[in-house]
């Protein structure tokens, strides 16, 4: 494996691929994509509960004017995505935003899942480590259960699921 990756030819091939991939990497921002993205960051305030750009109920008196407001806000010089969303939140209330992004307590919404996932990952790693240490201190047995009837069943399950 080391020999393979050590070969000059492979290094050249990888570099060539990367160069081709990076061609045209301009980081340009398409206004239509930005408009669509912002429209998907908001909720129609007519109580239909739909994303603004996806509100499709007949004769909605709200979504059309809101979309027009979004177009106008995007034309304001120096406007950023955050400033536009803040403008809508100020006008229609926090529920207009499709996700909690105003800072303060809203941050808890984002932090909690990450924190739980992080702690659970650490917890799982600790559990794995403890189990590993246990098995080095005592030899592994075929079965953890001492019930004799289990052995035949477990053997069968092992046969059915062994990879």
């Amino acid at each position: 494996m080391r020999k393979l990756f050590g070969s000059r030819l492979l290094q050249v091939a990888v570099l060539t691929c990367l160069m081709v991939i990076m061609l045209g990497a301009s980081g340009a921002t398409d206004p239509a994509a930005r408009f669509n993205k912002l429209g998907h960051e908001m909720i129609c305030t007519c109580s239909c509960g739909q994303i603004l750009m996806e509100c499709n109920h007949v004769g909605c008196p709200v979504s059309g004017p809101m979309i027009e407001e979004l177009r106008n806000q995007m034309l304001v010089s120096g406007s950023t995505n955050t400033s536009i969303l803040n403008w809508f939140a100020a006008k229609y209330g926090a529920t207009v935003l499709a996700s909690p992004i105003r800072g303060g307590f809203d941050n808890v919404a984002w932090i909690a899942p990450l924190l739980v996932f992080f702690l659970a990952t650490i917890g799982t790693a600790v559990v794995v480590r403890v189990w590993k240490m246990r098995s080095t201190s005592t030899p592994l047995t075929a079965s953890a259960s001492s019930h004799p009837a289990d052995q035949a069943l477990r053997d069968r399950i092992r046969r059915e699921t062994e990879y």
Binding site: G27, A98, V127, I157
Partner: protein, 690 residues
């Protein structure tokens, strides 16, 4: 005093079902409390048998109640308030039948009916293990009593409408007048309610200190069938949303959708981690709590949709029955907690691990990821309530939040789907890792580079960069996982081919039939990967909206739509406006689509009828939005949704794989010798036995 024979019969049937269920609960509990419930002629044994029969009879009573409601719907009996509010004379027969579950009372009746049906099967098969079945039957009767109390006293489906009988009903919500709506709720409920059975077995096994893991083996098929129903139910709902709601998507992270997803996630975790207990006697406490949580999440989901605690377009009207569910949830949690602490010494297991790199570790991380996803969904669903409580202001937690948090979790899950099966139980050697991972890794990198070169470079997408990166990662991981799964099939099939001289295809079939559980699981994984591919296609969605008068053209994603005409029509059930659109691709006419907008007379509501052309590459999804009042021209909205069909294909593969896993192995001889021989001979992950 007007007579209402059918509603009265239905009400009586519900009362009888309640009586029988209460008897099953009390007599069953008493007979288990007595020291002996042997099948002898002692009092407790006879009492237990009468409890079992009463439980089975409750199914008959529930069937009569459901039949009475359906009868009332078909005979247009508008003296019944529920029928008045959910049907009308012009409603087609299939939807009159579907009215049984289109409202709160009816859907609770369906829940109780399905629960009694599951109970009937459980009690009929009690000889599998008489004492454990008796425990499970009693616990199930407890759940049944709760729902029947609701139906009899809080949400009676046979309530009589006061005043003179109406000439016609208010009709069924037009959104529900769609073929899938006849199937989606029963499927979902079969899944929801079905988890009561493994829950009852788990709690019963814990209460009676059931020796060993046999209870898991007994409930394995229950759990898998239930999980399958829930899977199909969820995706039928997604397909219905895609076909009917007309916003171009299939999953909006609505609280009601979330309520169905949460038990699916924990149920999936249970299906995986239960193997650890079966094979190694590990994670006993964990598994018990997983199935407890799954059942409680089904109740919580029902609570969320009926209590008004969260706002949802799908939720039933706010009512007092939410309080009943709070109470029931607290009681269930209390019983589970008490039983667990009382019997926790029975759940002691020798959790040992031969190596950090092993199947056991992958199962642990699989559970971690699934539960993290479940927590995220639950957190997002309840955060608006928490925010309002803490800050006093309401917030919305919608699709952007769930997508941002759950997509990385989903990618990690996809990664584990690929590497998990490549790891051996107990320990995986470096040589085995190198051998098993080379091909999938090559596939992953090849796909990633190919996509970057030929399809898309995320850094060129500006605002959409994140979803592009996730999408490309999904496709690349999918390539790796599919390669890994295919390699497993080919490895085993090649060994069989040399042994039997059969063709490769025949060898694969034989391989699957000889070890259905293992290869059925692989097929399910393959289906999940295909679904991920379909979901990842969403990053490349396009949409366009335009007024289209006669002869007007709209061009999007290689398609050209030309308006041939637009008109309106009417029948007894609804008025409709629609447009006729010719669709061209590459200068050639390929189809004609007719998106329409309907106005239903009875309910006085509008509904969108989407016109959809599906190919393996993409969906052309067309919506008639209405007419511009100034120009009188229809407004047409068109979506190009790439790879959507692969989601539904993936679900079909998952269903097939689950069926395969449920089928017994080919023969007893094959089970005892051939697979073992194949496993010895198939060059795969090496197991290090200590």
């Amino acid at each position: 005093m007007q007579a209402h024979p059918m509603p009265e019969f239905g009400s009586f049937a519900l009362l009888l079902a309640l009586t029988l269920s209460v008897y099953t609960l009390l007599a069953g509990a008493y007979s288990l409390w007595r020291p002996s419930v042997a099948a002898g002629p002692d009092t407790a044994g006879r009492l237990g048998e009468t409890a079992r029969r009463a439980g089975m009879s409750s199914f008959l009573a529930m069937s009569c109640a459901a039949l009475a409601l359906v009868w009332a719907a078909f005979t247009n009996d508008y003296s019944v308030s529920y029928i008045l509010h959910h049907t009308n004379k012009a409603l087609p027969g299939a939807y009159k039948f579907a009215a049984l579950w289109s409202g709160q009372e009816g859907s609770l009746l369906l829940w109780a009916l399905l629960l009694s049906a599951y109970g009937f099967v459980l009690r009929a098969r009690h000889r599998v293990d008489v004492r454990l079945s008796a425990y499970a039957s009693t616990i199930l009767a407890g759940v049944q009593v709760f729902f029947l109390l609701l139906l009899n006293f809080a949400a009676p489906p046979f309530a009589i409408q006061p005043g003179p009988r109406a000439l016609d009903g208010f009709g069924l919500n037009p959104l529900l007048q769609y073929p899938e709506m006849v199937m989606h709720p029963p499927m979902l409920y079969l899944g929801y309610v079905g988890f009561s059975v493994p829950f009852a077995f788990a709690l019963g096994a814990l209460m009676m200190r059931y020796p060993g893991e046999k209870w898991i083996h007994i409930t394995r098929r229950w759990t898998m069938v239930t999980w399958l129903f829930l899977t199909v139910g969820i995706f039928l709902g997604a397909h219905w949303a895609y076909s009917v709601l007309g916003w171009g998507g299939y999953w909006g992270w609505d609280p009601v959708e979330n309520a169905s997803l949460m038990p699916w996630l924990t149920g999936t975790a249970f299906l995986h981690s239960v193997m650890m207990q079966e094979k190694r006697g590990m994670m006993k406490s964990w598994n018990v709590w997983l199935i407890f949580s799954t059942f409680m999440l089904t109740i919580l989901g029902t609570l969320l949709t009926r209590s008004g605690i969260v706002s949802s377009v799908h939720a039933f009207a706010q009512s007092s029955i939410g309080d009943w569910f709070y109470g029931f949830l607290i009681i269930v949690f209390g019983i589970c907690l008490f039983t667990f602490f009382k019997q926790r010494d029975h759940l002691k297991s020798e959790n040992k691990l031969g190596s950090l790199v092993s199947r056991e570790s992958s199962f642990l991380f699989n559970n971690l990821v699934l539960l993290a996803a479940c927590f995220t969904v639950l957190w997002g669903t309840l955060f608006p309530v928490l925010s309002e409580y803490v800050t006093g202001s309401k917030v919305t937690v919608g699709a952007p939040f769930y997508n941002r948090v759950n997509i990385p979790v989903g990618l990690f899950l996809l990664f584990l789907t690929g590497i998990g099966p490549l790891l051996a139980w107990r320990s995986t050697s470096i040589r085995s890792i190198r051998k098993n991972f080379v091909l999938p890794s090559i596939a992953f990198f090849t796909m990633l580079i190919a996509l970057l070169v030929f399809v898309d470079r995320p850094w060129n997408d500006g605002d959409d960069m994140q979803s592009m990166i996730f999408s490309l990662m999904t496709f690349s991981l999918a390539a790796g996982v599919i390669t890994a799964i295919s390699a497993e099939f080919l490895r085993g099939a090649n060994v069989l081919r040399t042994q039997t001289g059969k063709s490769l295809a025949a060898s694969i079939v034989l391989l699957i039939r000889r070890n259905t559980r293992r290869y059925g699981g692989y097929i399910v994984h393959f289906g999940i990967v295909v679904m991920f591919i379909g979901i990842a296609g969403g990053a490349f969605n396009q949409q366009k909206e335009q007024e289209m008068g006669y002869g007007d053209t709209l061009t999007i994603g290689g398609y050209r739509l030309v308006c041939q005409s637009f008109t309106q029509d009417s029948n007894a059930n609804f008025d409709t406006e629609y447009a006729l659109l010719d669709v061209y691709k590459g200068g050639k006419k390929i189809t004609q689509l007719t998106p329409e907008k309907r106005f239903y007379h009875a309910s006085e509501t509008y509904a969108t009828m989407v016109a959809d052309r599906t190919t393996l590459q993409n969906d052309l999804y067309v919506i008639y939005e209405g007419k511009n009042p100034d120009t009188e021209k229809p407004i047409i909205k068109v979506f190009i949704n790439p790879l959507i069909v692969w989601i539904w294909i993936g679900v079909a593969i998952v269903v097939f794989g689950t069926f395969v896993a449920l089928v017994p192995n080919l023969t007893k001889a094959a089970m005892t010798s051939a697979p073992a021989r194949i496993e010895r001979e198939v060059p795969e992950a090496e197991v290090h036995h200590a």
